[in-house]
């Protein structure tokens, strides 16, 4: 989640891992974009001091023992990553780590090197003796990395060889997060390394129950969820989508006001503010309760309600010869904005498929473009008449 959509990781991507583990993935910034890892080694070592407790010697060299309690630094880092600050470089060094008094018989958990994914795993291992094999997923959470294939068969095989794992443990079982499955062929890993792959629960929080149940996940542990809280975190805390547009729109209005367009004021500005908040924030929150399935439709529907509200506030009703252009422009532009932003939330959801979104876009994108363009032309007409 974590790691979210992709909660896996991505709660929605869920717990942190679930979310991030999350497919919050799909298109949340923690997933999108591969940044070149500059000064990689340096950034790895700079941050490690507070979460490594000690090191102990093994046949393959010193292995770091990690704390299972998150420190203030970890929490601060999580908040920053959530807000998109340094998220693309919030990673740890791939390799083998130990928890508690790990011994040759201890279970091995496989994780991503996005620190939020790693943190959400280790905090669930309190009181356990275990190994954590961290793959190089370029700092991307489990679910998104699995989709890209970096949390994948080849990397697992490579990492097992590189760490000398077989000389440290006496068994041949790897526990993978279930959301890593899109990138990993379990039977291939077994064929190439003799390690049996067991898929653990979607959410790291279920790990102890999973172990207690003899490494069997219940049906609930296997399901990705998309709760109100997950959607809130994705929209309100990951201030990426709606708020960026708010800033842009506000700046545009401010500049137009400075240029002295008389018909522009707060009154002209708040309808767009509302349309952005509706599409980027309200629709995701109310997602299961808004009728209809296409995300753009849900956004359009609430956008129409908003346009009607605006028409009442601006005294455009009843519609007259003097007010119809402005009212029509509102009904064309505002729902189009909400629909477009709502459609963007498909990437953060945990249940849309590529085929489904393609089909939705085939209808929604032309309709949104047409509605928006005609509305803007009307608005321009009204504005210039006011000059």
């Amino acid at each position: 989640m974590m790691d979210t959509k992709k909660v896996g990781t991505a709660s929605p991507r869920l717990n942190e891992e679930g979310r991030g583990s999350q497919r919050s993935c799909e298109c949340s910034p923690e997933c999108c974009g591969w940044t070149a890892a500059k000064g990689k080694e340096e950034s790895y070592t700079r941050e490690t001091a507070h979460w490594i407790e000690r090191r102990f010697e093994t046949l393959v060299g010193p292995i770091p023992v990690v704390r299972t309690r998150l420190s203030r630094n970890d929490v601060l880092g999580k908040v920053k990553a959530r807000f998109g600050i340094g998220r693309m470089n919030y990673k740890i060094k791939p390799g083998l780590y130990a928890v508690g008094s790990a011994h040759p018989g201890s279970p091995i958990f496989v994780s991503a090197n996005y620190k939020l994914s790693f943190d959400s795993l280790r905090r669930e291992l309190v009181g356990l003796d275990a190994w954590i094999l961290v793959l190089d997923t370029k700092g991307i959470n489990v679910w998104c990395a699995a989709g890209k294939g970096t949390f994948g068969t080849d990397e697992i095989v490579h990492r097992i060889e590189e760490t000398g794992l077989t000389r440290v443990v006496s068994h041949r079982v790897l526990i993978l997060p279930q959301l890593g499955a899109p990138g990993v062929a379990a039977h291939e890993v077994t064929r190439r390394t003799r390690f049996k792959v067991v898929y653990g629960p979607v959410r790291a929080a279920d790990i102890k129950d999973f172990l207690a149940g003899g490494m069997k996940a219940t049906p609930e542990m296997r399901l990705v969820t998309f709760k109100l809280k997950d959607r809130f975190v994705l929209t309100a805390l990951e201030l990426t989508s709606p708020f960026k547009y708010l800033v842009i729109v506000t700046a545009v209005f401010w500049i137009l006001c400075l240029l002295g367009l008389p018909s522009l004021s707060w009154k002209a500005w708040y309808p767009y503010l509302g349309a952005i908040l509706i599409g980027g924030f309200l629709v995701p929150l109310l997602l299961p309760w808004i009728p209809g399935r296409p995300f753009a439709w849900k956004g359009w529907l609430l956008g129409v309600v908003w346009a009607a509200t605006v028409a009442i506030f601006q005294g455009l009703l009843p519609i007259t010869a003097a007010s119809w252009e402005r009212a029509a422009a509102n009904f064309l532009v505002l729902p189009a904005i909400s629909a477009f932003l709502a459609m963007g939330f498909t990437g953060s959801s945990t249940y849309t498929s590529l085929s489904g979104v393609l089909k939705e876009m085939r209808y929604a994108v032309p309709a949104i473009l047409a509605s928006f363009s005609i509305g803007v032309v009307l608005l321009a007409v009204v504005l210039f008449r006011g000059l």
Binding site: R23, G147, A181, A185, H187, R222, T350, S355, G356
Partner: protein
């Protein structure tokens, strides 16, 4: 998650029962519990819930399942259209 359904009848998920040995890997990895095992064979419970993550196909040792994996992300699709890339993916 009955309340979450996107468009129906679009998923590219295909399943060949003749190849299936009923090992159950697909049911284990699917995040939406689409597969169940009935009479020692996998069965698709509800294919409209498929999000095309590809986990089932990837983990089927007998190649009984196929799906075009991808991300259901409108931004990703728009970006890949603009940049002229084939498969929409994040980033």
């Amino acid at each position: 998650m009955k309340e979450y359904r996107h468009l129906g009848d679009v998923a590219t998920l295909a399943y060949d029962a003749d190849r299936c040995t009923g090992c159950g890997m697909c049911a284990e990895v699917c995040p939406h519990a689409i597969f169940c095992i009935k009479d020692k064979k996998a069965a698709i419970r509800d294919r409209d819930l498929c999000m095309e993550c590809g986990a089932c196909a990837k983990n089927c040792p007998f190649a009984a399942i196929s799906v075009r994996p991808g991300v259901g992300c409108a931004w990703g699709i728009l970006l890949s259209e603009i940049k002229g890339r084939e498969a929409p993916s994040c980033g």
